[in-house]
């Protein structure tokens, strides 16, 4: 079997497994899984920039927040339906990531991390500043009646689960496809040896900018989906911890792998859940992973057993 069909099969199997999960898992865990899938979209977006392109951003909460408030405010204040709301979220994230990418890509390395962090902080403060509309830390809730798409009530647990799964599947297949295109391969080349990639005739700046925009927009999709499916927007989602989470998810799951972000998100979620929010336990496990599987769970699996993993 060729690598490409194996990859499609793997991704399809994953989606099927998640469908089955809804029917076999207890309600509590199925609910968690819906949330995990939404955050896994965020992690996949982050992974495109960090894992594949090699650019470490500390400001992705800005893009997540842009999607969340783009949809949230359009629905809450603008009174639009969910469909246009999603579009508003995506466009907001796209524009914000375009501007941030354009400016931040003048720097690299540590400077890039700091600049993205600063932008995200500015975004967070903006949310607080316009508290009259955003209601700041407290946030706002989308009325249940508005959270419907094509007549389907997205506040219903089952509908929510499958909406999250559909979005997750779309993004998973999109990334699986993207990283195998010449464009995606070039991103990996930039990660591995930027100067060599440039001297093969690739426009590095353009590739990086597109990567930031795609990564930011996917992160924004996750933010918008969260707001729509779980019905609330809060400033905390645009704050520093939410820039760090996707980095942890991706490091844990395996940077530069298509399913690593999901695995990392799942793992981290239950790690915190099982340790009863005891960050000590979570910290110890994270350190152990960093020591024994520095390339993450999927990275380690790929190294040992399945070199074809995308």
């Amino acid at each position: 079997m060729s690598d490409i069909s194996r990859i499609h099969l793997l991704h399809a199997a994953m989606v099927v497994a998640l469908v089955i999960c809804w029917f076999v898992l207890p309600v509590y865990h199925a609910g968690n899984l819906a949330r995990i899938m939404v955050f896994a979209i965020y992690a996949m977006g982050y992974n495109l920039l960090f894992g594949y392109t090699g650019l470490l951003s500390l400001g992705h909460a800005l893009f997540f927040g842009a999607g969340m408030y783009g949809l949230g405010l359009a629905m809450h204040l603008g009174g639009v339906f969910a469909g246009p709301g999603i579009l508003a979220g995506l466009i907001t994230a796209l524009v914000v990531s375009g501007v941030v990418g354009f400016l931040a890509l003048r720097t690299s390395g540590v400077a890039f991390m700091i600049v993205t962090l600063m932008f995200a902080q500015a975004g967070y403060l903006t949310v607080l500043l316009f508290g009259t509309y955003t209601r700041g830390d407290e946030g706002f809730v989308l009325p249940q009646a508005t959270r419907a798409l094509m007549g389907i009530d997205l506040s219903d647990a089952q509908n929510r689960y499958f909406a999250a799964l559909i979005l997750f599947g779309i993004v998973l297949f999109f990334i699986g496809w993207l990283v195998r295109t010449p464009f995606g391969r070039c991103l990996v080349a930039i990660r591995e040896n930027e100067e060599r990639a440039r001297m093969l005739g690739y426009d590095i700046t353009r590739h990086k900018l597109i990567a930031v925009i795609l990564s930011g927009t996917i992160s924004g999709l996750s933010g918008a989906a969260y707001c729509l499916l779980f019905g609330s927007a809060q400033a905390a989602f645009a704050a520093v911890p939410y820039s760090i989470f996707p980095l942890l998810y991706v490091l844990l799951g395996g940077m530069g792998t298509t399913i690593g972000p999901f695995v990392g998100t799942l793992f981290m979620f239950y790690l915190i859940d099982w340790s009863g929010g005891n960050m000590m336990v979570a910290g110890v496990v994270l350190v152990a992973l960093a020591l024994f599987a520095p390339t993450g769970i999927l990275g380690e699996i790929r190294r040992r057993f399945t070199p074809w993993l995308p």
Partner: protein
């Protein structure tokens, strides 16, 4: 119409903190020629080809490629015009397979056509003798094979001008001989600008050569003329 000279420079100068690494270099390279660039360490050879490929911005002066001025073009644009460049210090994608290294060079030109890319990659690897190593990681190759891979990545682009910065540095004798054969085979396919320390290679493969010393052109001529040039002997060949 294609220009007679594939490459030309006028007054090309690079200054590093008041020191001229290159000073007022006027240079022409006729299409199809195999031209060697020689000179002692620190003469400014790498700086010169860096300014040709766009890797190093020129302090002053102009560069024309195929009749068009490229002085202000960024490196990737010059390369897409048909200049291939290999680094003096081996620079490959160490964590990617050999095949993918070459494919990256090919894909910029052939794009999404997987079959065409595969065929071209196979052809290039066959030509330089890397077929057996195709699935190894480039970083696991021997030093000699990594140098060969660099050359393969250049060849894969079907360049009109192929710039090689000391490709035989650190190679064993049989590898040097294979390299000389490859360059001879490329005659007629592309123009080659070769920085080379090994005088046997220079004398055997090049049509003409330029000697750089202290950032300036000291002499230019056929291998025989350069061999007989007293200045060159004093500066570089050590009176041999």
């Amino acid at each position: 119409m294609a220009a007679v000279n594939i490459l030309e420079t006028k007054g090309l100068t690079k200054t590093y903190g008041g020191l001229n690494a290159n000073y007022n270099i006027d240079f022409t390279l006729p299409r199809g020629e195999i031209h060697a660039l020689i000179g002692p360490n620190g003469a400014g050879k790498s700086t010169f080809v860096g300014m040709l490929s766009g890797r190093i911005p020129a302090t002053r002066g102009k560069v024309w490629f195929d009749g068009a001025e490229v002085t202000r073009l960024p490196a990737h644009k010059r390369i897409s015009l048909g200049i291939a460049y290999t680094f003096q210090i081996t620079s490959v994608f160490g964590k990617l397979p050999v095949r993918e290294n070459v494919a990256l060079a090919v894909r910029r030109i052939l794009g999404r056509d997987r079959e065409a890319v595969r065929a071209k990659v196979d052809g290039v690897m066959e030509r330089v003798g890397l077929t057996e190593q195709a699935d190894q990681l480039a970083g696991d190759l021997s030093y000699g094979h990594q140098r060969v891979l660099e050359i393969a990545m250049g060849l894969a682009q079907n360049p009109e001008l192929f710039i090689l910065d000391e490709p035989t540095q650190g190679l064993a004798l049989p590898e040097v001989e294979a390299f000389m054969q490859l360059v001879k085979d490329l005659r007629g396919e592309t123009t080659i600008l070769l920085i080379e320390h090994n005088m046997n290679v220079v004398m055997e493969v090049s049509d003409s050569l330029t000697v750089l010393n202290n950032g300036e052109v000291l002499a230019r001529g056929t291998p025989e003329e350069i061999r007989a040039n007293a200045d060159v002997q004093a500066a570089y060949l050590g009176g041999a």
